[in-house]
C-alpha cells in the first residue's frame, strides 16, 4: 500500500510534509482524498488540475513572507463548510515562510479545526516552531536512493559511465527531461569541450560561467576551480570583481558547484573551505557585500587547495 493510501485511510487534521518533493506529494494527497481512484476525469480531478477546486486552497507567500493577515483570512474562510467535496484542504506552501505572528496565529485552528478541515503544511526541515510541529503528523518523504535512480536511468538506455556523470552533475538528484535527452550527446563531446576550456583565457572562462547549458557550466566551474590554486592574488581579486558583477544566480551556482567539487577532494586540512562555502551561501541570501564576500571566499578556497596539494 502506498504512503498516500495508508495516510488517507484515517485522515488526520494536520500534516507536515518534509522533503524536496513535498509540493507534488501534497497535490497527489489532496487528489486522493477528493477522489480515491485518482481518475483524472471526474469534476474533482479536473478542477484540481486546473487549480479551480473551491475546497482546495494553496497558500503561498505574498511578498517576502506569509503574513498574519493571510492566516486570519484563512481562518475566516475555513468557517464555511466545503462546497463540493467532503473535506476542505489548505496547503501552506512553506512553513519557513510564515512570519512569527502568522505561525502563532495558525496554532489554534491547527489544533482544533472544524471537522471537515485538513491542513497540509510543507517544510524543508523539521527545524520549525515546536508548537506547530507537535500538532501535526509528520510525513518524511525519502529522497530516492541512488541505486533506484541508477536503475531508472539505465532503463532509459544510458551507459553506466553516462549515469555516473549525469548524477555527478545533478548531485544525486533526479535529472529533468532536457538533461536526460542531451546527456548522451554531451558525454561524447566532453573531452573535446574540456580541451577547449583549458585553452580559454581567464576572462573568457569567467564569462562562460553564465552559459545556459548545465553541463557546460559544470565543466567550466571544474576548470576554473582547477586553475584557482595557481592564481596570483591579483588574479583572485580580478575574478572576485568579475563574478560580483554577475547575476545572483550565477554566483549561487558557482558556490554550490564548488561545494561538491571540494567534497570530492576533501582532506582534513581543507575542511574550512567547506565551512566558508556554506557561510557564503548563507550570507548570499542576506544581502552581503558581494565583492567582499567573494574575495574572502576565493582566498580561502585557494588556501585550501594549496594546503591540500602541499
Amino acid at each position: 500500500m502506498s504512503l498516500i493510501e495508508s495516510l488517507a485511510r484515517t485522515p488526520s487534521q494536520a500534516y507536515l510534509v518534509v522533503g524536496t518533493t513535498a509540493p507534488e506529494f501534497a497535490k497527489k494527497f489532496a487528489q486522493h482524498l477528493f477522489c480515491p481512484k485518482e481518475c483524472e476525469h471526474c469534476s474533482h480531478c479536473t478542477k484540481l488540475n486546473h487549480g479551480t477546486h473551491p475546497d482546495f486552497t494553496w497558500v503561498s507567500k505574498s511578498g517576502k513572507r506569509i503574513s498574519i493577515d493571510q492566516v486570519r483570512d484563512l481562518q475566516q474562510k475555513a468557517l464555511y463548510p466545503p462546497v463540493e467535496a467532503s473535506k476542505k484542504i489548505y496547503v501552506i506552501e512553506s512553513v519557513e515562510d510564515l512570519s512569527l505572528e502568522a505561525a502563532n496565529s495558525l496554532l489554534k485552528i491547527l489544533e482544533d479545526p472544524p471537522r471537515y478541515l485538513i491542513f497540509i503544511l510543507l517544510a524543508k526541515s523539521t527545524n520549525i516552531l515546536p508548537t506547530i510541529l507537535s500538532r501535526c503528523q509528520i510525513v518524511k518523504l525519502p529522497t530516492p536512493p541512488r541505486a533506484q535512480l541508477e536503475q531508472i536511468l539505465a532503463e532509459r538506455g544510458l551507459s553506466p559511465q553516462e549515469i555516473e556523470y549525469l548524477l555527478s552533475v545533478t548531485h544525486g538528484a533526479m535529472p529533468d527531461e532536457t538533461l536526460l535527452n542531451t546527456v548522451k550527446d554531451f558525454f561524447a563531446k566532453r573531452p573535446q569541450l574540456q580541451k577547449q576550456l583549458s585553452e580559454l583565457s581567464d576572462n573568457e572562462l569567467w564569462e562562460s560561467l553564465t552559459e545556459k547549458n548545465l553541463f557546460v557550466r559544470h565543466e567550466v566551474t571544474g576548470e576554473l576551480l582547477g586553475r584557482l590554486e595557481h592564481y596570483s592574488s591579483a588574479q583572485v581579486l580580478a575574478l572576485a570583481a568579475a563574478l560580483s558583477k554577475g547575476d545572483h544566480d550565477v554566483i549561487e551556482f558557482f558556490i554550490q558547484e564548488a561545494l561538491y567539487w571540494y567534497r570530492g577532494r576533501l582532506t582534513v586540512n581543507n575542511t574550512h573551505a567547506v565551512y566558508a562555502l556554506e557561510t557564503a551561501l548563507w550570507k548570499l541570501q542576506r544581502n552581503a557585500n558581494m565583492q567582499l564576500l567573494l574575495e574572502s571566499l576565493l582566498f580561502t578556497l585557494r588556501q585550501g587547495l594549496r594546503e591540500a596539494s602541499a
Binding site: S6, S12, D112, P113, R115, Q137, K140, Y260, G264, Y275
Partner: protein, 521 residues
C-alpha cells in the same frame, strides 16, 4: 469580534469526546485526531501536573477562586486542557469533590464548546489593542447562564504590548463573575505587570514512564496493537510532550492499519536512524575511524534518512552516555568523560550550523571527519578521503591516523590524561594565571613527585609558578594523590616537546617552501 466568537465556538464545537464523555455524547463522530479525542475531561485524567491540578481543584472545593490564572509550559503538556477543565469545574451544576461531573447541562455545553459564558480566545490571532478593548466592554455583562464567565486566552504571549497594557486595569480588578485563564508556551514574553496579577503555574514536561502508561491506555481503548518496545521508544522520543507522543502513535497506527506496530516502523516513518546506527557512528568517531563514520553517513543518505534528526539523536545519545558516566557507570570502555563532553559540544555546534546549511550531508561529513581526527591532534600528513562523486565506500582513507591511534592507545590511562585533568581542575578553580603558566610546562611523573619542567625560554613561567606553589600542591594532591611538586628546568630525560626555537625554525622552513626565498638568520 462577533465573528471571532462564532469561530471559537465553531472550532471548539468540533472538539469534544474523551472516553469519559463519549458515552454521553449522542452525535455521531467522524474520525478525530487521537490527541483531541483523548483530551482529558477531568482533573484526574491530567497526567503529571499534580501540583497545578491539586491547587486548582482545592480552589474550586473551597470556593476561593482567583480572578486570573496563568498556565505556562512547553507544548503538549496540558495547558489548554487544564484551562477547559477548570472552566467546567467552576461552573458545574453538580461538582464532585472539585471535579466537573461531565454530565450536567453546563459541563456538556462547555465540552461541546457552545457555552455562552466560556469564551476561548486565540491570543495569537486576536492580538491587537482593539480586540482587547472590545473584550473589556464585554467583560462587564453578567454571565448568561453559568456562575462564572471564563475567558481562556491561549497563546497569550502573542498579544501586542499595547494590548497587554490595555488589559492591565481590567485584570487587576475584574467584575466578580469573571475569571481569566491565560495559557502560553513562552511566559517570558508576558509582561511582569500581567504575571503579577495572576496566579501563575508552571507545567512540567512529562517523564517517559508517564507517557508510556498513557499510551498503553490509549492502545487498549482504541484497539491499537503495538509492541511494548515501540511504546517505550515513542515515549522517549516525544521529549516530554504527551501530544507529540499521541500524534506519533496515531501516525503509526494509521500507517500500519490493523497490523502490529513494531519498533522499526517508528524509525522508518520518522526517518530516524536506528539506535544501533547512532551508537555505531559515535563509537566510530570516538575510535577515530573517520572512514567508518563516512560510510554510515553515506548509507543513511542513501536510505533517505533525515540527517538533521540523526544529529539530534547523536546529541541525545551522547547526553545519555555522559549521564551514565556521571552515575559511575562508564558506558564505553576506555572512554573518559572529557572526550564525551567535547563530542557533545561539537555536536551541538554542528546542529546549529546544520540548521542553515544548504547541503547538510557535506557539512555532516566534514564535521565527522574533523571529530574523528580530533581537533587538537596535528597531522603528519593530510589524510585523503574518499567522499567524492562516487560513493564514499570505494576509496580508502589513508591509514596515517590509524597508526597514531595505536601509539595513543599504547598508553592506557596515561600520564597525559592526568595532566589534562589537572589543567581542567585548575581551570575549574578559576586560577587562570596558574593555568596559563602550566600550559607551557611539561609534566614528568616521578614515583614520589610530580615534576613540572620548563625549558630555558620559559624562565619567567617557572619563577612565577613558584609563587603559586601552595595552591599547586593542593590541586596536584587532588589529581595525582599526595606528592611533592617540583618545578624545574628541563632535564635530559623524559618526554619533551619541541623547543620554541626548533618550532620557529620549522615554521621558517615551511614559509620558505611555500613562498621561496631563503632563511637569513
Amino acid at each position: 469580534m462577533a465573528a471571532r466568537l462564532v469561530w471559537d465556538q465553531e472550532v471548539a464545537g468540533s472538539n469534544p469526546a474523551s472516553p469519559t464523555t463519549l458515552a454521553i455524547m449522542t452525535e455521531a463522530h467522524e474520525y478525530q485526531a487521537l490527541y483531541r479525542k483523548w483530551r482529558p475531561q477531568r482533573f484526574a485524567d491530567v497526567v503529571h501536573q499534580e501540583y497545578t491540578v491539586r491547587t486548582l481543584q482545592n480552589a474550586v472545593l473551597s470556593g476561593q477562586i482567583a480572578h486570573a490564572y496563568l498556565l505556562a509550559g512547553p507544548r503538549g503538556v496540558g495547558k489548554t486542557s487544564i484551562a477547559r477543565i477548570f472552566a467546567k469545574a467552576v461552573n458545574c451544576l453538580n461538582p464532585q469533590r472539585g471535579e466537573p461531573c461531565n454530565h450536567c447541562e453546563m459541563c456538556r455545553k462547555i465540552t461541546r464548546g457552545n457555552a455562552l459564558d466560556v469564551i476561548e480566545i486565540d491570543g495569537a490571532s486576536n492580538r491587537g489593542i482593539d480586540q482587547i478593548r472590545q473584550l473589556r466592554e464585554e467583560v462587564n455583562f453578567v454571565p448568561a447562564e453559568a456562575k462564572y464567565k471564563v475567558y481562556i486566552i491561549d497563546e497569550v504571549h502573542m498579544l501586542t504590548n499595547e494590548a497587554f497594557n490595555a488589559l492591565l486595569k481590567t485584570l487587576e480588578e475584574p467584575p466578580r463573575h469573571v475569571i481569566f485563564i491565560f495559557a502560553t508556551t513562552e511566559p517570558h514574553k508576558v509582561p511582569l505587570t500581567i504575571v503579577s496579577r495572576c496566579q501563575a503555574f508552571e507545567l512540567k514536561l512529562l517523564p517517559p514512564e508517564r507517557i508510556e502508561k498513557r499510551l498503553k491506555e490509549i492502545c487498549e481503548a482504541e484497539k491499537i496493537d503495538a509492541s511494548p518496545k515501540v511504546l517505550t521508544a515513542i515515549s522517549y522520543r516525544a521529549r516530554g510532550a504527551l501530544r507529540d507522543a499521541i500524534v506519533m502513535l496515531e501516525q503509526l497506527a494509521s500507517y500500519k492499519g490493523s497490523a502490529r506496530i513494531e519498533e522499526h516502523d517508528l524509525y522508518e516513518i520518522m526517518g530516524l536512524a536506528s539506535e544501533e546506527t547512532v551508537t555505531e557512528f559515535l563509537k566510530a568517531l570516538l575510535a577515530r575511524q573517520g572512514r567508518r563514520a563516512l560510510e554510515i553517513i553515506a548509507d543513511l543518505a542513501d536510505r533517505g534518512k533525515d540527517l538533521e534528526l540523526f544529529v539530534d539523536e547523536l546529541i541525545e545519545q551522547t547526553r545519555d552516555w555522559i549521564i551514565a558516566h556521571l552515575d559511575g557507570q562508564p558506558p564505553l570502555e576506555g572512554i573518559g568523560l572529557e572526550p564525551l563532553i567535547t563530542l557533545s559540544t561539537q555536536l551541538l555546534n554542528l546542529k546549529r550550523e546544520l540548521g542553515r546549511a544548504w547541503e547538510k550531508r557535506i557539512l555532516l561529513e566534514v564535521k565527522a571527519l574533523e571529530l574523528a581526527q580530533g581537533e587538537l591532534a596535528p597531522l603528519s600528513q593530510p589524510t585523503l578521503l574518499s567522499a567524492g562523486a562516487k560513493s564514499s565506500k570505494e576509496k580508502p582513507i589513508k591509514r596515517a591516523h590509524d597508526e597514531k591511534e595505536a601509539q595513543q592507545g599504547a598508553d592506557p590511562g596515561s600520564s597525559s590524561d592526568r595532566w589534562t585533568q589537572l589543567l581542567a581542575e585548575v581551570k575549574r578553580d578559576r586560577r587562570g594565571t596558574v593555568h596559563a603558566l602550566l600550559l607551557d610546562g611539561h609534566p614528568v611523573e616521578l614515583p614520589d613527585a610530580l615534576r613540572i619542567e620548563y625549558d630555558y625560554d620559559h624562565t619567567f613561567h617557572k619563577e612565577s609558578l613558584e609563587k603559586h606553589r601552595k595552591y599547586l600542591e593542593e590541586v596536584v594532591a587532588r589529581v595525582y594523590g599526595v606528592r611533592r611538586v617540583e618545578i624545574a628546568f628541563i632535564s635530559g630525560e623524559g618526554p619533551r616537546r619541541k623547543s620554541k626555537s626548533a618550532e620557529i625554525r620549522e615554521k621558517a622552513e615551511l614559509l620558505k617552501k611555500t613562498f621561496g626565498g631563503e632563511i637569513v638568520s
